[in-house]
């Protein structure tokens, strides 16, 4: 193929520029790794093998007697994720419309909507969780609120993008036959966006399952609390069971959700 194309122009200047960039990057890399090498505390690795031998086999021999307790907490984790995502998925609908360019006439008002969602997304999950544990007390409810609020920001943005990508010609057609705003919403807009909304909500549910396993670390309910406890007690057998449970549940839900989402859109 190559010889049928005209020769590429020689760009000496560009090559020199690239060479300089690569050299600078190489220097930074070498400098950084050398610093780490010199300052690292290598004694950490001294009895690594011994520690591993103590922990790893226990992790891989889960304590099945704890199954009831662990299962109950895992179910709670899934419920926290479900309730939180449900709140977010519904709450994000009006905000998605607010932040969608093609739905709001005033650009200022629209930008305000976008900013509101950005603001919501800036809160890290764990910080929010700590905040809610303090305000509503430790437990699942704090977890639900945390998940709801963080998922809401992302879903609102995704919804807005879905709404911005719809075919406005259908809206035009409905306007032309005398439909009012509400009817246009239900007949022209919802049929175009709802499957995508649902798909994004399911996707967010997958993320929230993983997120809610962590929330217990700060007392916001779910399996996380048990993780902290069993790690603190060096109860590796129980931790092994917890990890196994999480892996199974997350995989099953991811698998199911992917299947459902494929059929939706």
């Amino acid at each position: 193929m190559g010889k049928y194309l005209p020769p590429k122009p020689h760009q000496t200047q560009k090559r020199i520029r690239n060479l300089i960039i690569y050299t600078i990057l190489a220097i930074i890399f070498i400098w950084a790794f050398k610093g780490v090498w010199d300052r690292a505390d290598w004694s950490v690795f001294n009895n690594l093998a011994e520690k591993f031998q103590r922990v790893i086999p226990s992790l891989f021999s889960p304590d099945w007697n704890q199954l009831d307790k662990v299962w109950e907490k895992i179910v709670e984790t899934v419920f926290i994720a479900y309730a939180g995502t449900l709140i977010a998925a519904i709450l994000a609908v009006p905000f998605g419309f607010w932040a969608a360019k093609n739905m709001v006439k005033s650009p200022i008002w629209n930008t305000l909507g976008k900013w509101f969602l950005i603001l919501d997304r800036t809160f890290p999950e764990l910080i929010l969780a700590i905040f809610f544990v303090i305000t509503v007390g430790p437990g699942a409810f704090a977890g639900v609120l945390t998940i709801g609020l963080t998922a809401f920001g992302m879903l609102g943005k995704l919804y807005a993008e879905v709404i911005e990508s719809i075919d406005m010609k259908v809206v035009e057609a409905m306007e032309a036959n005398g439909a009012n705003k509400m009817q246009i919403l239900f007949y022209a807009i919802f049929p175009q966006v709802l499957p995508e909304f649902l798909s994004f909500a399911l996707y967010r549910f997958e993320i929230d399952i993983r997120a809610s396993t962590i929330l217990g670390l700060v007392g916001a309910g779910g399996i996380g609390t048990l993780i902290v406890l069993s790690a603190a007690n060096r109860n590796w057998e129980q931790l092994g069971l917890i990890l196994l449970g999480i892996i199974v549940v997350v995989s099953v839900i991811d698998f199911a959700s992917t299947k459902i989402r494929k059929r939706l859109v």
């Binding site: 010609k169 035009e172 005398g178 009817q183 049929p191």
Partner: protein
């Protein structure tokens, strides 16, 4: 009856759309508007249901000046004026039936329509209109599973379901192949004669305009440069309207077979 009185339109960005248009369209007429793209055909048609807003003059639809209509009154006007689009503008994911009955929205209360509670008569009307354009066998299929010509027929059924006094068609065949184009035009013509619905169609194909129109209005640069019955129109007329010799792509071609099915 539709009357344009010294109607002008300047778009917000300063582009003139219509200049001093004076036209009267009588009830039951089949009018074809021809002109090059950018001549103001779309603006002309869309003024009638106020999808664009003329800036000067008067425009009467059934003796009512429609330029000041707002909100409910404007929606009421639009229920009387059906519109057909180049790209059919159906909801792809909805069924043919749901698309068709959405023509009834202007006549249906908000709550009723949200919960899909159309009256038996409305449902029968929608089905009947699908039958009129011979597309009833696809009633429960998704709109995007149909071919272009079939989708345009669904959009004709949708317009009929709104019981219009007047049908506007904005380049209804520009996305279709010649046989399908003729089919769609034949349906429009049939409805025009059977129901006595005034029909205004934008076309840029000369041969189709000649074949289906009762009357031709020629536009150039936002002005009406020709207006007369089809019997007065010759190739020369089109050359005057287009301000250049006729070319082959101004013609759609003949109805060689019976469409795509």
């Amino acid at each position: 009856m539709i009357t344009f009185k010294d109607l002008s339109l300047v778009y917000p960005n300063g582009t003139p759309g219509l200049k001093d248009v004076n036209v009267t369209v009588n009830e039951g007429e089949f009018v074809v508007i021809v002109g090059l793209s950018g001549a103001g055909k779309s603006t002309f048609i869309r003024s009638i249901n106020r999808m664009v807003n003329p800036t000067e003059g008067e425009l009467y639809v059934e003796d009512e000046n429609i330029l000041d209509l707002k909100g409910k009154d404007l929606r009421k006007l639009r229920t009387k004026v059906g519109m057909i689009f180049q790209n059919y503008n159906l909801v792809n994911r909805s069924s043919v039936f749901k698309n068709t009955i959405s023509g009834r929205l202007g006549h249906t209360g908000t709550l009723k329509s949200i919960f899909n509670l159309f009256s038996k008569e409305d449902k029968a009307r929608a089905y009947n209109n699908l039958k009129r354009v011979n597309i009833e066998e696809y009633i429960y299929q998704r709109a995007d599973q149909l071919s272009g010509g079939q989708q345009q027929r669904v959009s004709i059924a949708r317009v009929l379901t709104q019981d219009p006094k007047l049908i506007l068609a904005d380049e209804p065949v520009a996305s279709l192949d010649p046989p399908t184009s003729h089919q769609v035009m034949q349906y429009l013509k049939k409805i025009n004669t059977e129901d006595n619905i005034t029909t205004i169609v934008n076309l840029h194909f000369i041969d189709m305009a000649m074949e289906y129109a009762d009357r031709i209005i020629g536009m150039r640069d936002g002005e009406v440069v020709f207006d007369g019955p089809v019997s007065e129109v010759s190739e020369k007329t089109f050359e005057q309207i287009y301000n250049r010799p006729i070319r082959e792509d101004d013609l759609r071609g003949s109805d060689t077979d019976d469409g795509e099915e």
